[in-house]
């Protein structure tokens, strides 16, 4: 038996939700939510929490003096992989020009998700 306490992020209400897991990690009970979105959030957050990761990477040869280009994971990645993603991102440098949506790193941290640019750099 294991309990997890969460604060729902689906709306500003911020319901405190308690999820009870059995010995094999399956959800036994979810309580404290006040709408279906809250229950869905809690179930996902406990079984498969994911996040979009945003950061920056160094860019070379930009004509307007930019030294960094903003980027993000194209889709959400497992929460437990965030720091692996950051480590991979911090290890790369890209060359200008860069366009919004360009893949600047494939399969980041073995997640199967690409890192894409979110800024135009000429």
């Amino acid at each position: 038996m294991d309990t997890r306490n969460l604060i729902c992020i689906s709306c500003p209400l911020g319901c405190p939700i308690t999820v009870t897991l059995n010995g094999s990690g399956e959800i036994e009970n979810v309580e404290g939510y006040s709408c279906p979105r809250g229950e869905a959030y809690a179930r996902k957050e406990v079984t498969n929490p994911t996040r979009i990761v945003t950061s920056t990477v160094r860019v070379l040869g930009a004509t307007k003096g930019d030294v960094m280009v903003s980027c993000k994971t194209k889709t959400d990645v497992p929460k437990g992989k965030i720091f692996d993603v950051i480590k991979d991102i911090n290890g790369i440098t890209v060359k200008a020009p860069v366009h919004i949506g360009d893949v600047i790193l494939q399969n980041v941290a073995g997640t199967g998700v690409d890192i894409v640019a979110t800024k135009e750099i000429r």
Binding site: C11, L13, S34, V53, T56, V67, I86
Partner: protein, 282 residues
């Protein structure tokens, strides 16, 4: 330059051990940003009893990384000469005065102040554009046009937003209206300006006045409340008629609200003299 600018634009880190004062969205996102870049964010202190940031940001920028948020706390002392070496925070009472005996000391090399954004309106002021003292941005009509005809405003220069999506949306409508203004060679005729008033919670609205003849199919009116309000309704009155009545389980200063006014509301009431956005119990 701001810390955000240093980190995100220049790729520079101002320090390694950080305390943040202020828990608006910028303070929260900065905590995660500094963590990603290898810093240790020790605590975020917030003077008010609630965070001014989005719930999502509290969870995903602080809780995810085990960064404590201390509500009703402020910085009372900063140590160090050439460089910050430590700070002391204390809890505050309801009058926001530090409570003796609640002091906590943190060693750190950086104190980030994230204590509110103010729209940058030197340009607008210099032109003589009328500024709304609540938002510190221009007072605009339904077309997002300022008190000077042909000058339009949108985004954080108009009022500080939480989400860039709404900045983009506002910018698109200001751009569309500006283009229409140019194409018409300036708009002619006296404007019929219906004022938008607030009661019971909202601190301001954007726009502050509406010309019914220039309303699109749906006009978005945005506002913020001044305090956390639970289980109330947002109502829109056209003179005495209640045209909208929306239940809101919770509203918070950190989350911008909006109502959409249909053109039909205006068409049905040709003698409209006042619009009121009222937060009420039922």
């Amino acid at each position: 330059m701001s810390t955000f600018g240093l980190v995100n634009m220049e790729g520079l880190m101002p320090g390694r051990e950080v305390v943040i004062l202020g828990s608006g969205d910028i303070g929260l996102i900065m905590a995660r940003r500094m963590t990603f870049e290898g810093a240790k964010v020790k605590v975020v202190a917030e003077l008010l009893p609630y965070s001014g940031g989005l719930r999502r940001n509290i969870v995903q920028c602080l809780d995810d990384y085990g960064i404590p948020l201390k509500l009703s706390h402020t910085v009372i002392d900063i140590e160090g000469k050439e460089r910050v070496e430590g700070i002391t925070i204390a809890e505050v009472d309801e009058k926001r005065r530090p409570i003796p005996g609640t002091e906590e000391h943190y060693t750190c090399d950086t104190l980030l102040l994230s204590v509110g954004l103010i729209p940058e309106n030197e340009l607008s002021r210099g032109m003589g554009v009328k500024i709304n003292p609540v938002t510190n941005g221009p007072s605009v009509n339904e077309s997002l046009e300022t008190s000077i005809p042909g000058v339009f405003a949108a985004g954080n220069v108009l009022h500080v937003h939480d989400l860039v999506d709404f900045v983009s949306e506002e910018a698109a409508s200001a751009g569309k209206n500006a283009a229409a203004y140019v194409q018409a060679g300036g708009l002619e005729g006296a404007r019929h300006e219906v004022p938008v008033a607030v009661e019971g919670g909202p601190r301001y609205t954007v726009p502050v006045s509406i010309d019914p003849s220039r309303v699109p199919e749906s006009l978005t009116v945005r506002f913020r409340v001044g305090d956390i309000i639970r289980n109330h309704f947002v109502s829109v009155y056209f003179d005495q008629d209640r045209v909208l009545h929306i239940k809101r389980p919770i509203m918070a200063p950190g989350e911008m609200e909006e109502v959409k006014l249909k053109k039909q509301f205006f068409d049905e009431r040709p003698n409209l003299s006042k619009i009121t956005i009222r937060v009420e119990e039922k």
